[in-house]
C-alpha cells in the first residue's frame, strides 16, 4: 500500500485527516482556551481561535479558592496504593498460573476471563453494603477494595501472558545453580519482567486515576474526594465557575495526555504481547 499516490488522492487524504484531527482535539482546545480567558469573557458566542487577553487568573482561583490540591493528592494516594497492591498480588498469582500444573488450573483461568465481562457497577451494591457493615464507607480503603475488583483479574491475566513468554530453562538453570523455586522467581523472572510489571502498573493507573462512578458512591465528604468528583462540583450548569472547571481540567489533562502520547508506542506493543499469548 506504500506505492506512489497521485496528487489529488494525497490532498483528499490530508483533508480527511485534518478534519478528523480537528474533531479529536476540539474538547482539549476548548478547555485550554476557556481556562486562559478572563472571567467576563467566558460566555462568548463568537469564534476566536485564541483568547485576545489571556490570563492565568482561573488557575490561581482554582488552587486558592477550592480544595483542588487536596483532591489531586487523594487521587494520587488511591491510585498509587491500588496499583502497587494489585501488581504485587498479580505477579505471584500470574507466575503460579503460568508455571505450575495444579488441579483446577484452567478453571481458575476461565474464571478470571469471565470477570473481565463484568463491570464494577454490577457488584457495587453488595460491595457498598459490605463496606458499610465494616465502616469502610468514606475511606481510602473502601475505594481501593472496590478498584481491586477490576485491576486484579486483568493484571493477573496480563502478567501470566508475559511470564509464558519467558523460557523455563532460565529458572531451571538458576535452580541447578542452587536457587530455590521462589528464589528463581524473585531473582531471575521478576527482574526480566520489569517492562510488563510497568505496563500492568500503568494499566491500573489509567483505570483508577479517572474513575468517577465508584468513587461517587463511596467517598462522601469533600476532603476525601478524588479529582473527578471535585471537578464535577466545579462544573455546575455553566455558572461563573466554568473558568475554574476549565483550569482544573487543563491541570489534570495536559500531563496525563503528554505521558500517554509519549509512552503510547511501547505501551501498546506491551498490551499485545500479553494479549496474543494469553
Amino acid at each position: 500500500m506504500r506505492g506512489n499516490l497521485s496528487f489529488t488522492r494525497k490532498t483528499i487524504y490530508h483533508l480527511v485527516l485534518i478534519v478528523a484531527a480537528i474533531f479529536s482535539i476540539l474538547p482539549l482546545y476548548r478547555i485550554i482556551t476557556v481556562a486562559l480567558r478572563p472571567g467576563d469573557k467566558i460566555f462568548t458566542t463568537n469564534f476566536e481561535i485564541f483568547p485576545e487577553t489571556p490570563t492565568l487568573e482561573n488557575f490561581t482561583a482554582v488552587f486558592s479558592q477550592t480544595q483542588f490540591i487536596t483532591w489531586l493528592a487523594n487521587s494520587l494516594i488511591v491510585t498509587i496504593l491500588t496499583a502497587f497492591i494489585s501488581v504485587i498480588l498479580s505477579a505471584t498469582a500470574g507466575y503460579a498460573l503460568s508455571r505450575f500444573r495444579f488441579p483446577m488450573r484452567s478453571g481458575v483461568f476461565m474464571f478470571l476471563m469471565a470477570t473481565q465481562m463484568m463491570p464494577a457497577v454490577m457488584l457495587l451494591l453488595p460491595l457498598y453494603f459490605m463496606l458499610r457493615r465494616f465502616g469502610l464507607i468514606d475511606t481510602y480503603a473502601g475505594v481501593i477494595v472496590v478498584y481491586m475488583m477490576t485491576t486484579l483479574p486483568f493484571c493477573i491475566w496480563l502478567l501470566k501472558g508475559y511470564f509464558d513468554t519467558i523460557p523455563r530453562s532460565l529458572e531451571q538453570a538458576a535452580q541447578v545453580d542452587g536457587l530455590t523455586a521462589i528464589g528463581a522467581f524473585w531473582k531471575v523472572v521478576l527482574p526480566l519482567s520489569t517492562p510488563s510489571l510497568a505496563i500492568a502498573m500503568l494499566f491500573c493507573v489509567t483505570q483508577i486515576w479517572n474513575e468517577y462512578i465508584v468513587a461517587r458512591v463511596i467517598l462522601q465528604t469533600a476532603e476525601l474526594y478524588t479529582w473527578p468528583l471535585g471537578l464535577f462540583e466545579l462544573q455546575g450548569d455553566f455558572d461563573t465557575r466554568w473558568g475554574m472547571f476549565a483550569a482544573a481540567s487543563v491541570t489534570v489533562t495536559v500531563p496525563v495526555t503528554a505521558a500517554f502520547l509519549y509512552s503510547s508506542k511501547w505501551l501498546l506493543t506491551g498490551l499485545t504481547v500479553g494479549g496474543v499469548k494469553g
Binding site: 500500500m1 487524504y13 503460579a96 458499610r132
Partner: protein, 323 residues
C-alpha cells in the same frame, strides 16, 4: 488485610503439609492464595451476597434494621417480578432500556469499527506527517474521560455550545441537546463514538502494518483493483485483529456508564439515554431501591452471560471453519 493474607498463608501451608501435597503444587497454591483471597472478598462473596439481596426485603426503610440486627427478610421472587413489571427509573421500563442498550451497543461499535478502520487505512498510506496525525488522533483516548465528557457536554449546551452555534451558522435547525429525548441520545452516541475510535484505529493500524506488502504487489501484477485488494487481502488478513477488538468493544459499550451518566446530568438529569447498566446504577444509588437493584443486576448478568455463550459458540465455529 495484610494480616488476613499472612494468616491464611500460614494455615494453607500447614494444611498442604498435612495433606502431603506435592511441593510444587504446594508452592503454586501459596503463590495464588493472596490474590485469590482478595478476589474472593471483592468478587465471589459479593456475588453471593447480591443473590441473597435479590431475594430480600432490604430497602431504604429497612436498612437501619439490617445494620442493627442483620435481618434481611425474605421476599421470594417479588423483586424479579418487579424488574420486568415496574420501572427501574421513573418512566423507562426494562424492555425499553433493553432495546435502547442493544441499539446503543450496535450504533457505537459499528461507527468505532468503520471510522477506526478508515483512519487506520489513511494512516497506513505513505503521506507526510503520519506520526503527527496519529498523535493528534489518539488524544480522545489519552485524555481523562471525565474531562472529555464534561467538555463535550459544554459543547452540546443549547446556547453556548459550539455544536448549535455551528448548526445555526450554516442554517441548519438547532436542537436542545440537553433535554429533548432523541437529541440527548444522539449526543451521548456522538461522544462515545468519539471516545472509542482511537482504540480501534490503533489496533487496526497494528494489524495493517503486519500485512506483508508482497501480497499487494502480487495482486497488483495480476491486475487486481484497489477495492479487490482490500476485499481479498486486507479484510481476511485483518480478521484475527478485528474479532477480539470487536468483542472487547461490544462488552465495553454494553457496560458503559460514564458517558450516559455524565452527559445526562447525573442524578437530577433525564433518562432519555439510559441503558441497562446506567439504570442499574441510578436505581441503586439515586432511588435507593436496594433489593430491586440486586435482582436487576442478576438479570443483566444473565443477559451478559448469554451473550458470551453465543459469542463463544460463534467464534469456535469460525475458528474451525478457518482451520
Amino acid at each position: 488485610m495484610a494480616g488476613l493474607v499472612l494468616g491464611t498463608e500460614a494455615l494453607l501451608y500447614a494444611a498442604l503439609r498435612i495433606l502431603r501435597v506435592r511441593t510444587e503444587t504446594r508452592l503454586a497454591f501459596l503463590l495464588l492464595a493472596p490474590a485469590f483471597i482478595c478476589i474472593a472478598l471483592v468478587i465471589i462473596y459479593p456475588f453471593f451476597f447480591q443473590v441473597r439481596l435479590a431475594f430480600s426485603k432490604l430497602n431504604l426503610y429497612t436498612v437501619q434494621n439490617w445494620l442493627a440486627t442483620g435481618e434481611l427478610g425474605w421476599a421470594g421472587f417479588d423483586n424479579f417480578v418487579n424488574v420486568f413489571t415496574s420501572s427501574p427509573l421513573q418512566t423507562e421500563t426494562f424492555w425499553s432500556l433493553l432495546v435502547r442498550t442493544l441499539l446503543w451497543t450496535f450504533i457505537n461499535v459499528f461507527f468505532h469499527v468503520l471510522l477506526g478502520l478508515g483512519l487506520a487505512i489513511l494512516l497506513n498510506q505513505s503521506i507526510k506527517g503520519r506520526g503527527f496525525y496519529r498523535a493528534l488522533l489518539i488524544i480522545p483516548w489519552a485524555m481523562p474521560q471525565v474531562v472529555a465528557i464534561l467538555a463535550w457536554r459544554g459543547e452540546f449546551h443549547p446556547e453556548f455550545g459550539v455544536i448549535n452555534q455551528f448548526l445555526g451558522a450554516v442554517g441548519l435547525p438547532v436542537y436542545n441537546w440537553w433535554s429533548d429525548p432523541i437529541p440527548v441520545f444522539i449526543s451521548c452516541c456522538v461522544v462515545n463514538i468519539w471516545l472509542g475510535i482511537p482504540f480501534m484505529m490503533i489496533v487496526f493500524l497494528g494489524g495493517l502494518q503486519s500485512i506483508s506488502r508482497s501480497y499487494y504487489e502480487a495482486a497488483a501484477i495480476d491486475g487486481a483493483s484497489k477495492w479487490q485488494q482490500f476485499r481479498q487481502i486486507t479484510l481476511p488478513l485483518l480478521q484475527p485483529v478485528v474479532v477480539p477488538s470487536v468483542t472487547l468493544g461490544t462488552i465495553w459499550t454494553f457496560n458503559n456508564i460514564n458517558v450516559i451518566y455524565l452527559m445526562t446530568g447525573q442524578d437530577g438529569g433525564n433518562e432519555f439515554a439510559d441503558i441497562l447498566v446506567s439504570a442499574l446504577y441510578k436505581s441503586a444509588f439515586t432511588y435507593s431501591r436496594f433489593n430491586f437493584s440486586a435482582a436487576f443486576a442478576l438479570v443483566i448478568f444473565a443477559i451478559l452471560l448469554l451473550m458470551t455463550m453465543v459469542w463463544i459458540k460463534i467464534s469456535r465455529g469460525t475458528e474451525s471453519a478457518v482451520r
